[in-house]
């Protein structure tokens, strides 16, 4: 189970002064439960992974209160996953526990929250506030709640977001029984930090975002603990384990999307400065959508992106010189049937991966998805070498309430 260091003082002080008179409070509960079954098509590479199927369940309710005519609200979203095989993947998190107060042209958001920045589809380079919940999936899209005080100001020249981030969430990693991991298990109990304050370092960020005609753009500066750890080999009781080491960093980020007719042009770039390195990285691409294919209601989008990292093959990021090609088909039917398929090709290591995601609603409250991930590499220097035997299909049933 991951540890959660919630700092109640972060928001409770303000919350209690704003608490509602019961009669005026609007309350609502919603959420979902899911069951997913993974089928691995190949025998595993590493010890502890000797299985083909894995069953997993999640529950994620959302409790919501609103008062003072909607100017104050509280959202609580706990999350629990129970995994058949991997004790590290069995974990709980508070995705959100936050109080939002709305002023005339400002908002104060306090508590555990999730923030997304960026425009590209195959990599989320500029998205920096939340830690990745890496046991959920290897695509990096699942995030842990981050404690924050976020003041957001709406001005004619854009939206300014000021962040104070008291405390840090460590990345989750698959355990010994988990698949989709490196050959050596990451021991998350032995994390090391550059900062003497460790996980209590207070990070800060400021972001400006704005829309100018067809262009949506954003720029930020982040100062604090790098969400991406260096993995250091350590000898613990005669056994080699990987230990996450979290450095301090300053990062500048910029993102831009131009929306012109059926075209979306996307660009993200970061400059990251840490004790051990100092580099630029970028992800850029385009998306074109064909609407109403063959006089049907269906749309088909075609996506192309390129990811680059100045560190090249020295990078501890999976994307350093990679191209991506994808297609998104939406039937626009009553069941919201969708299909996304993509292939990535690493130009340095000559390796590929393929993703397929299809989903459809059944009845009013159920959704069924089928995902497939396939990896192909024969270069041990490639980061995806350790998951090359982890091709899998996943069937997910979601029940919304």
């Amino acid at each position: 189970m991951s540890t959660l260091t919630l700092k109640p003082w972060v928001f409770l002080a303000g919350l209690f002064t704003a608490l509602p008179a019961q009669a005026d409070t609007y309350y609502e509960m919603s959420g979902k439960v899911t069951a997913d079954l993974r089928y691995f098509t190949q025998d595993a590479q590493f010890e502890g992974q000797d299985y083909d199927t894995n069953l997993s369940f999640t529950v994620e309710p959302e409790f919501f209160w609103e008062w003072n005519d909607g100017t104050d609200s509280l959202t609580f979203t706990p999350f629990l996953r129970v995994d058949e095989r991997d004790s590290e993947r069995t974990h709980a998190d508070i995705r959100e526990l936050s109080w939002v107060h709305i002023g005339d042209d400002w908002e104060l958001r306090t508590g555990l929250r999730k923030v997304f920045w960026g425009v590209t589809e195959f990599q989320h380079l500029v998205d920096v506030i939340n830690q990745t919940d890496a046991v959920e999936d290897f695509d990096g899209e699942d995030k842990l709640g981050q404690q924050m005080i976020n003041l957001s100001l709406v001005r004619d020249w854009g939206i300014i977001d000021l962040f104070l981030l008291p405390g840090f969430r460590e990345r989750t990693f698959p355990g010994e029984e988990g698949r989709l991991r490196a050959g050596v298990v990451v021991d998350t109990n032995r994390a090391e930090f550059e900062s003497g304050a460790g996980e209590n370092h207070i990070d800060t960020a400021v972001r400006w975002s704005h829309t100018l005609g067809d262009f949506d753009l954003g720029a930020y500066w982040f100062h604090g603990t790098n969400r991406d750890p260096k993995l250091l080999a350590r000898d613990i009781n005669g056994q080699t384990v990987l230990v996450p080491f979290y450095e301090q960093m300053d990062q500048l980020g910029f993102d831009l999307q131009a929306t012109i007719d059926s075209w979306l042009w996307k660009f993200e770039t970061i400059h990251r400065d840490t004790r051990s390195e100092n580099f630029w990285a970028a992800q850029a691409g385009l998306e074109y959508t064909f609407y109403g294919i063959r006089d049907s209601a269906a749309d088909m989008g075609v996506l192309f992106e390129y990811g680059w990292d100045q560190r090249g093959q020295e990078a501890d990021a999976a994307i350093q010189n990679d191209i991506f090609l994808g297609t998104r088909v939406t039937l626009n039917d009553a069941e919201s049937t969708e299909l996304l398929a993509g292939i990535s090709h690493d130009l340095d290591y000559d390796s590929q991966s393929v993703i397929i995601e299809a989903s459809r609603r059944f009845g009013d409250n159920f959704k069924l998805s089928i995902d497939g991930r396939f990896f192909s590499t024969d270069n041990p220097a490639d980061l995806s070498y350790s998951i090359r035997k982890d091709d899998h299909l996943q069937l997910t049933l979601e029940r919304y309430f």
Partner: protein, 265 residues
């Protein structure tokens, strides 16, 4: 001389004398445009509006599915309206919100908020002809009426559910529209639409929309409680019911930006 001592009256007389000739010279195109302008003018000044939208989608077999949406709109002088919609049902898209700045000419600005990822996406608005939430309503059927979006032709006067109606053909200006034309029945008293017949890109009959249960708000703004869209080519239909209409609630520009989109719920 007594008549001319008041220039206003003189103007009136000149107007009265010349007006019949203008009417006689009016072409069907000019009359169609004039009716559209009068219809638009009759509804100006609503300022802002909030309502709940409920859709019942029916397929050919009669199977139903439900969409629930809450919406806010803002009247914008000399531009298209701004609107913010939040989806409540189906539950898998609950919290998904849609922000739109419409423009009489050119592409609308549209953003979608995806609550699971907390992501705001600017989306292409080129897809006017696509179905809204899998329903028989296309996006263009739900966007605000602007004079510049069509060219017009008056066809005839005809009795309709609203009394005596103007029947006007409207030809979409936007090449991305899914229609070659719409035939609209507007009553002559209040310029309320009662029926619209849609013709597809091949000019074949596609859909018919009928308006029911009009109520008057703020003394001049007529809104239907029910709109029924029937697709003649697929046999599917969608009933769109509106409820909890509220006008002039004090919404402003500040209620329509990416921050309000993210917390629309």
């Amino acid at each position: 001389m007594t008549l001319l001592n008041n220039p206003f009256k003189a103007l009136l007389i000149v107007g009265l004398v010349t007006a019949p000739t203008i009417t006689l010279a009016e072409t069907p195109e000019e009359k169609g445009l004039r009716i559209a302008e009068e219809a638009k003018a009759s509804d100006l000044g609503w300022q802002d509006m909030q309502a709940e939208m409920n859709m019942i989608l029916r397929n050919k077999q009669g199977q139903e599915s439900v969409r629930e949406i809450r919406m806010k709109s803002l009247e914008v002088e000399s531009d298209g309206d701004k609107s913010l919609s939040v989806f409540d049902k189906p539950r898998d898209v609950k919290g998904t919100a849609f922000l739109s700045f419409s423009h009489p000419v050119g592409a609308d600005d549209q953003w979608l908020y995806l609550p699971a990822l907390k992501r705001v996406k600017r989306i292409a608005s080129r897809n006017k002809s696509g179905p809204f939430m899998g329903s028989e309503f296309a996006y263009e059927d739900l966007s605000s009426f602007e004079i510049e979006k069509y060219t017009y032709k008056f066809i005839r006067d005809e009795a309709c559910d609203g009394g005596e109606c103007y029947v006007v053909e409207q030809y979409p200006v936007d090449k991305n529209s899914g229609y070659t034309r719409r035939v609209v029945w507007l009553d002559q008293e209040e310029y309320r639409p009662w029926k619209i017949a849609f013709y597809d890109r091949k000019n074949s009959p596609l859909k018919t929309l009928t308006y029911h249960d009009y109520n008057e708000y703020e003394g001049k703004h007529w809104r239907p409680n029910l709109m029924k869209m029937v697709n003649h080519q697929t046999g599917k239909s969608t009933d769109l019911t509106y409820g909890s209409y509220q006008f002039k609630t004090g919404l402003s520009d500040k209620d329509f930006n990416k921050n309000t989109l993210k917390r629309a719920r």
